[in-house]
Amino acid sequence: MDVADIQIKKALVAFAIEKALLEMGEPVFQKVAKTLKDDYNCYIPDCYEHPEYLKRILSDLYGNAHDAIISSIKNSLHDFSHQEPIQKFVSAIE
């Protein structure tokens, strides 16, 4: 997979995450993004390589309900789930 392809997939994943969080509310997105920056020194697109960061932050914030937010992210990526890297991201975040 070339660099451009990785960037596209990163953007796709970031878009799915942002969409799910912004649907809840802008402060939710800001809180998640800030925690990512403070705790792991990374940004939303970096969750493509580290889905466990996002999972932990959502779990800390929303407890048992974090599964539903993750499902929403997975649904946004559904059309691309046949692609192996996206499939890998989806399995890792579950």
């Binding site: 970031a14 942002e18 799910a20 912004l22 649907e23 809840m24 509310g25 802008e26 402060p27 939710v28 997105f29 800001q30 809180k31 993004a33 800030k34 925690t35 920056k37 403070d38 705790d39 940004y43 939303i44 697109p45 779990s59 800390d60 914030l61 929303y62 407890g63 048992n64 309900a65 974090h66 599964d67 539903a68 937010i69 499902s71 929403s72």
Partner: protein
């Protein structure tokens, strides 16, 4: 990031606030019933006022977009409705010196319930897929479980009370039990999450209101009710619990200097 010290301090202030309103009401009752009526009425101004201010602050933070935005808009409408109801009650009792129950205040008390329900529904909307049948049944059983004995005890001594007053008084515990269902679902859904503190406080607040509304119905039936009596303490607890709940959410989602969307992407 929220530290353990913050959480402990929040709980410490919460206990102090709950104890303070309890002491104020009990002390005023020790002095005289007239003092209790005056103090009881006046205590509602800071109680309902602080909830109103905090709900407007959190609405300003979340705006009206997104599910949480809609939820906090509904909550602000709930707080406004309650504040108007309390002010109408105070004006009627202290200034016009007429019996405030039943009155126009009840219209605003009753109007507040759909807004609170809308708040719960909107907040739970994005995570509705995580709600299980077990959660719904458990919440339903708990709500009905406290409603039936509550109504039975409250309506038991009813003898010469006005039928309209009894029906109107009975609507409140029923509505409390209804809004308790999504509150309980929220507590179990967000269990172990940081937002759970708010949900737990809201749930305890709703239970406090249910207890106070049942006690109000009981006292109305016996014609022994007066504003500021010790049975009203759970009403004040409700305001304190809701205010701390909103406050904890406001702190959790507080705006920071780096919160520009472009900077976080």
């Amino acid at each position: 990031m929220r530290t353990t010290l913050d959480a402990v301090l929040t709980k410490k202030y919460l206990v102090v606030a709950l104890a303070a309103c309890t002491v104020v009401i009990l002390a005023s009752n020790f002095i005289s019933q007239d003092t209790a009526i005056l103090v009881g009425n006046l205590t509602y101004i800071p109680a309902a006022g602080s909830l109103l201010i905090l709900s407007l602050l959190i609405l300003a933070r979340f705006g009206t977009t997104g599910h949480h935005g809609v939820a906090w808009f509904s909550f602000a409408a709930y707080a406004i409705s309650l504040f108007i109801a309390e002010m109408l009650w105070i004006v009627q009792e202290l200034y016009l010196q007429i019996d405030p129950f039943p009155s126009a205040a009840d219209i605003f008390y009753l109007t507040s319930y759909p807004f609170l329900l809308m708040f719960y529904v909107s907040y739970l909307q994005p995570v509705k897929n995580a709600i299980t049948k077990k959660m719904i049944i458990a919440s339903l059983v708990f709500s009905v479980g406290i409603l039936i004995p509550g109504l039975y005890l409250a309506l038991g001594p009813s003898t010469d009370a006005d039928l309209f007053d009894v029906i109107l008084g009975s609507i409140y515990p029923v509505f409390d039990a209804m809004v308790l269902i999504p509150a309980l679902i929220g507590v179990s859904l967000f269990f172990k999450g940081q937002v759970n503190l708010m949900w737990t406080l809201f749930c305890l607040g709703t239970i406090s209101t249910f207890v106070a509304d049942s006690a109000f119905l009981f006292a109305q039936s016996e014609d022994s009710y007066y504003t500021g009596n010790p049975m009203e303490i759970p009403y004040f607890w409700n305001y304190v619990l809701l205010s701390f709940g909103v406050g904890s959410h406001l702190v959790l989602f507080q705006k920071s200097k780096t919160d520009k969307l472009e900077d976080l992407r």
